[in-house]
Subunit: 188 residues, 2 copies
């Protein structure tokens, strides 16, 4: 394995470790030394891979943003099916793939006040609410979703999903809720 590959591997290890710690303890409570110890490597070496703690967060949030980008040119799958499937997959992933799960939660955390400005900006730039609103509107036109401000509906939907994911992170092993409960927010 070439040196560049080695470095890439190590970088990933740091990223994954940091992701887990950020989600489990929060960004500010996670010390560089904690991440280093968990990887494991010396504290100083962390700065060989990432300029700063904030850069590390930024790298994660950028990955999250790239992974989360809403697919604009969705084929004509009916909105109610789209959201239902999305939830099913998200919950399934969350049980099996810690990465997806953690990333979802980190993106939510990163959007909040008090997080480093640049990371926050990037997390907020993934405009899931606006994008979903379009599809919700389509569902309203189809007469499947309830009427009302589609952006507001979208916000309620995502607030719910985010909140549930965080609860699941907090009490691990918790059951996932019935997808229909959440779809009820949207459905007529």
């Amino acid at each position: 394995m070439t040196r560049k590959e080695q470095k890439e591997e190590r970088r990933k290890a740091i990223l994954m470790t940091a992701l887990q710690l950020f989600v489990n303890r929060g960004y500010y409570d996670t010390k560089i030394a904690d991440i280093a110890a968990a990887v494991p490597m010396s504290t100083g070496l962390m700065f060989h891979y990432f300029e700063s703690k904030e850069e590390l967060l930024l790298a994660l949030v950028k990955m999250g943003a790239a992974a989360t980008k809403f697919d604009d040119k969705m084929p004509d799958i009916p909105p109610e099916v789209y959201f239902t499937e999305f939830l099913k997959r998200l919950f399934a992933f969350s049980k099996n793939e810690p990465w997806v799960f953690h990333m979802f939660i980190l993106m939510g955390q990163a959007r909040r006040v008090g997080m480093p400005e640049e990371a926050r900006k990037i997390a907020l730039s993934v405009n899931t609410i606006e994008e979903s609103a379009k599809m919700i509107q389509k569902g309203q036109e189809n007469g499947v979703f309830r009427p009302g401000d589609s952006k507001l509906l979208s916000m309620c939907f995502w607030a719910t999903v985010q909140g549930i994911m965080e609860e699941m992170a907090m009490h691990e092993g918790m059951d996932t809720p019935d997808v229909e409960w959440i779809m009820a927010i949207l459905k007529k």
Copy 2:
């Protein structure tokens, strides 16, 4: 006005200022000096009123916990009416009474990982989810609420409410959603 009253007033002023700042910038990003400047008073004087920044947070969370205590011996008001009314009032308050609004959000923040341990414990001790679950169960027995794990339903409901409140805090002036949208999570 006696001195003790004066002191009490000042204490309240600090608490209200801190509450607002904690909610708007987050706990860690709010420096004691920021709170002091906003009250206004000197930084040093803050410690005449509160032992530490953490004590200040703790005082707020204790107030929140006291205010939030779920009323056990609720008269026989039907569950669906109870939750509907609760939401209506919460949203109405949030438009007019910044205090209630901010406090609700602070309690949510305080429950999260990364917040000072003691404050977190107190915030988590207000077991809204468990308490509501009982009432949800009653609603299920009445055939008004959908079947399923009442605690999980309760969690979904509160995750939604918390998430919506936070969105509202972030984009002020935002409309409040239709209470029925949220009730749809619970209702059959």
